[in-house]
């Protein structure tokens, strides 16, 4: 339940600032009335959750699309999110990165927003697709005379960024979107008076999207890939982790896509993906804030109810990752200071172990007195940073990972063995009761604090509703967390934090001697 932002677990439309937001409420949720003093505390702390449970309203539209509402009228603003269950796990080699590219295209407008005349634009877009499939190998689309001609025609009709511009004119804040292994989400906050326009725009982009300017956007995504992954040691090592820890399951593929796949992707493919997954039974909308709007439910029906019901079953991911037998390791050569990840396969909800891992994160790295900081940063002074995280997703069995940078003069191996030794200690010794209680209390406070934010709460609601089928799974997991014991932590350490189940990815400088300190000779 805890993901760190140094991992490119999610890729975003604008700047990846929202995605830690989206995950914020999940970083913690443990309660701990394990002693009588805590039980008293428990009451004032569980009250906000009870209020939440009573306050959240679920509406199911005529087409089956679910909307979650939480009214918080103090300031006349609201946060709105649209979540779709499609992401990296739904992709195949050859078309990796397509969900994320579709996410970018969702900002290009609709049949009525972003165009001066759709009836003239449509045939040109079709002509462009024909040109793309007729290209011979090695021919560059963007310099092709036909492309240039069509594009010149189109540029007279297209109204650049009209969709986003309309939002910003309405006073939008935090307009963004993100794609992960498991989902694609669209995010915006607006003054409440803009609710009717929000409703029409979001409905319109679900029902009548137009994937214009696709081949320029494809270039933009390749720019994004270069800066986030290719030139970034932590991006590269995360990609290497997934392709090493997973052999079969699509969790092994990068959400941003392989470069060669991106280069060959077409607008037609993206439109197909949209038809397949953007359907009412695969979408959840959440609204949090001042929702005192007249006829709100009728408006929601009017805007989102028009998305046609799907008649075919949703494609399913049937692949299962075989059990890992023995450690896997991989080196990423990069002209950077050493760092590494060690990761272990772990189950996801509804397996209760998933919840126990949340407590483990807090015990290991949650506060300044937690194990990683106390033992490895301040105590033995072997690390500049150590943290634990989970990636890549939650729809399918995932990974528990420790990410660390050794201090100058300390090798990756040395620090890796020290981290493993801490895990091994957890297998033998129970976490002291006082530490467990403190860890639970900390997570509880951070959870409660996370509810204050409209955007964070909207994320939590939509995420659980979409991925777990009911947002109240959040509350159920919370109940499980209350009961997590030192014994649970010991058992999960014994079962999962083993060398056999481990993948080790390290960043090292290239072995070849450097010509100068300023150049990099190679990378994986």
């Amino acid at each position: 339940m805890k993901r760190l932002n140094q991992f490119c677990a999610v890729v975003c439309y604008a700047f990846c600032v929202t995605f830690c937001f989206a995950l914020l409420p999940l970083v913690g949720f443990v309660n701990g009335p394990a002693s009588s003093a805590q039980a008293e505390q428990g009451d004032s702390l569980t009250a906000p959750l009870r209020r939440l449970e009573q306050g959240v309203k679920r509406i199911t539209l005529s087409n089956g699309l679910r909307v979650l509402l939480y009214n918080r009228p103090q300031v006349p603003i609201f946060s709105a999110q649209v979540w779709v269950k499609v992401g990296g796990v739904d992709e195949q080699v050859g078309a990796t990165g397509i969900s994320h590219l579709l996410e970018h295209m969702a900002f290009k407008g609709t049949t009525s927003i972003g165009t001066k005349d759709y009836s003239r634009e449509k045939p040109l877009l079709e002509e462009l697709e024909q040109l793309v499939v007729s290209l011979k190998p090695g021919e560059n689309l963007l310099t092709h005379p036909e492309y240039l001609r069509i594009n010149t025609e189109l540029s007279k009709i297209v109204d650049d960024n009209a969709f986003s511009r309309t939002y910003q004119q309405l006073g939008a804040v935090g307009l963004n979107a993100a794609t992960s292994k498991d989902y694609t989400m669209y995010d915006v906050s607006l003054p409440t008076e803009a609710f009717p326009v929000w409703c029409r725009m979001e409905g319109d982009r679900l029902v009548n999207p137009v994937f214009r300017q696709f081949y320029k956007e494809r270039e933009v995504v390749q720019e994004e890939r270069r800066s986030r992954t290719d030139d970034n040691p932590s991006g590269l090592s995360y990609e290497a982790l997934l392709s090493t820890a997973y052999w079969v399951h699509p969790n092994r593929l990068p959400v941003i896509g392989w470069s060669t796949d991106l280069k060959r992707m077409t607008a037609t493919q993206v439109a197909e993906l949209h038809r397949t997954y953007y359907r009412p039974d695969n979408i959840v909308v959440s609204l949090v804030g001042d929702l005192e709007v007249e006829g709100l439910e009728e408006k929601l029906e009017e805007c989102f109810g028009q998305l046609p019901r799907a008649t075919t079953p949703l494609p399913e991911v049937r692949v299962e990752e075989p059990k890992q037998n023995g450690e896997r390791s991989v080196v990423v050569e990069f002209d950077a200071e050493p760092s590494f990840i060690i990761a272990y396969h772990k189950p996801v909800y509804p397996d209760p172990t998933d919840v126990h891992f949340s407590v483990l994160h807090e015990v290991l790295g949650g506060g300044r007195s937690s194990l990683f900081n106390k033992e490895l940063v301040l105590g033995k002074q072997l690390a500049t940073s150590v943290s634990s995280t989970e990636a890549p997703g939650e729809r399918f069995p995932s990974l528990f990972a420790a990410v660390a940078s050794p201090r100058k003069g300390v090798s990756n191996e040395r620090l890796r063995d020290e981290v493993q030794a801490l895990f091994d200690r957890l297998k033998r010794e129970a976490v002291p009761a006082s530490e467990l209680v403190a860890a639970k209390r900390r997570v509880q406070v951070s959870l409660i604090a996370g509810l204050a934010d409209n955007d964070g709460l909207a994320s939590m609601l939509a995420r659980f509703e979409l991925l777990q089928g009911d947002w109240r799974v959040f509350l159920r997991m919370y109940e499980t967390l209350l009961q997590t014991t030192a014994e649970d932590l010991m058992q999960l350490s014994q079962k999962y934090l083993t060398i056999n189940n481990r993948t080790y990815v390290r960043v090292e400088r290239p072995k070849v001697p450097q010509k100068s300190s300023d150049s990099r000779e190679g990378k994986s």
């Binding site: 004032s44 603003i77 972003g114 005349d117 309405l170 326009v197 320029k216 200071e337 403190a438 604090a449």
Partner: protein, 496 residues
């Protein structure tokens, strides 16, 4: 459930002129959204947000409190003027170390480990930092533990222990961090641009080096902190679920006896800066496939008479993502960048106009030229009236988000007061924005942006000579290990 006594709503009625008709561009857009939008615009614009209570202690400390009982929490921060801009020469890094060690080094009378465990057990957090212009100590606690946590918070701010062992570790971590700088192209580009703009050994451009970090000891931290941590001019901003009657005596108990000599830092004592003279183009040759480009020159300070026009310029030109012309041109139309922005950044005494983008190394020169062309066009043509009107609407309608949470309301009040903004700044804000004209934007584009003065930094897989030839400009080659070091000058070869 909320007690309204502490929430005096301010209502601002603003007549928005000239929004209903005359939408020149984007005709089809009107069909779907413009009528709704126009309806919105005709309504009076209201700013209806909770107002905090303020009072002043005898020692001059101003307290700002907003009651909010949605969650059983208390949050707050003590804010002071002062920070990195005041670092003594040769001791660069003392601001960030003082900031981190206030909390990390525990208050007097505590061992750091004991202090960490105490807060962790309470589920409370206390953090501290010094930025360039301001420093703060902040806390979050359960309301039930407020008195206990607040006492610790006051000790962190007023009676720091600056534990020498923790300082030693922090210095080593800072040295390791300096080694990792060369992996970060954005940091390299930003640091190089600063030296190009302000010159070397200047508080506005200097970053910590291994040498300066090694020189810093507990004594420097004590002196640095004592210079700024004074009740006069400081602001204590608090919010949470306890009634004012409970909070007030607790504040008095822990801060009432705080005394310090007069004569702390004021806005007037912030250092001035002069734009450095030097080459226009700087290249850091590194094997990054993605080139990082930063451009800039000096701009006005925060309270400039043009501040509202500059806000609209920023939104229109390059600081609002999708809506801005630089994003539309460089990203959407040309597909040259994922991230691109540009606009004015202002400080207490000076500011900058800056542009930043990333593009593949082979397109670095082209992207640079495209940006320069775009600025040139911006200056020669008249801004599109509809775009400026949209920018103004966007700024005014999103203004309410500055007050979206109780802590942002009290924190904003603290900043405005400390940075010398007029008391009626917020109540006049939307009117001031509304008065910005298309002519104002044309004027600031012409007068405040200067293509000839713009300094350009390129970091990536590209040669200095190549850039000199392509741009027909002298190029200053820069080596970067822990900080920018200027190397050879490359002259452009005549175009063949």
């Amino acid at each position: 459930m909320r007690i309204r006594a502490y929430q005096v709503a301010i209502t601002l009625a603003l007549v928005v002129v000239g929004c209903a008709g005359n939408h020149s561009s984007s005709k089809t857009l009107q069909l779907k959204t413009e009528p709704l939008n126009a309806e919105l615009a005709q309504e009076s614009m209201k700013l209806d947000v909770p107002q905090p209570t303020t009072w002043e202690l005898k020692n001059g400390l101003r307290v700002i409190y907003l009651y909010d009982d949605e969650l059983p929490l208390m949050k707050g921060s003590l804010n002071v003027l002062g920070g990195g801009l005041f670092e003594p020469k040769g001791f660069y890094g003392v601001a960030s170390l003082t900031g981190s060690q206030l909390r990390e080094g525990a208050p007097q009378g505590f061992q750091p480990q004991q202090f960490d465990a105490l807060l962790d057990k309470l589920g409370a957090a206390i953090e501290s930092q010094y930025g360039e212009e301001m420093g703060s100590v902040s806390f979050t606690s359960l309301s039930d533990d407020f008195s206990e946590v607040f006492e610790l918070f006051a000790k962190v701010a007023l009676k720091p222990g600056f534990n020498p062992e923790r300082l030693k570790i922090a210095k080593k971590l800072a040295l390791d961090g300096i080694l990792r700088r060369r992996e970060d192209p954005e940091l390299i580009a930003g640091a190089t641009l600063k030296v190009a703009l302000y010159g070397e050994n200047n508080p506005y451009s200097s970053i910590p080096t291994a040498e300066s970090i090694k020189r810093i000891e507990q004594q420097q931290l004590r002196e640095f902190h004592a210079r700024f941590m004074r009740p006069q001019g400081a602001r204590l901003a608090l919010t949470g679920s306890l009634p004012l009657a409970v909070v007030k005596p607790i504040v008095e108990r822990y801060f009432g006896g705080w005394s310090a000599p007069e004569g702390g830092v004021t806005i007037a004592s912030f250092p001035e800066a002069k734009e450095a003279i030097g080459p226009r183009v700087y290249v850091v040759e590194r094997d990054f496939e993605q080139a990082t480009i930063a451009m800039g020159h000096f701009g006005p300070a925060r309270l400039s008479p043009d501040q509202f026009a500059l806000s609209i310029f920023n939104r229109w030109f390059g600081m609002s993502g999708f809506e801005s012309i630089i994003f539309s041109e460089i990203r959407s139309k040309l597909g040259l960048a994922y991230s691109v922005y540009g606009g004015f950044f202002s400080g207490a005494r000076t500011g900058t106009f800056e542009i930043g983008l990333g593009t593949r190394a082979s397109e670095a020169v082209n992207a640079t030229q495209q940006v320069l062309r775009l600025i040139g066009e911006t200056q020669s043509g008249a801004p599109d009236g509809a775009a400026i009107r949209n920018a103004k609407q966007g700024v005014n309608r999103s203004f309410v988000f500055r007050f979206s949470k109780p802590e942002s309301i009290v924190q904003r009040r603290a900043y405005l007061e400390m940075l010398g903004f007029p008391l009626d700044f917020d109540s006049k804000y939307m009117g001031n924005i509304q008065s910005v004209s298309v002519e104002d934007i044309a004027r600031v584009s012409r007068e405040r942006v200067d293509l000839k003065r713009l300094k350009i930094v390129i970091v990536g897989k590209i040669s200095s000579q190549e850039v000199a030839d392509a741009l027909q400009q002298e190029v200053q080659q820069v080596k970067f290990t822990e900080a920018p070091v200027f190397g050879a000058l490359y002259q452009p070869r005549p175009k063949s």
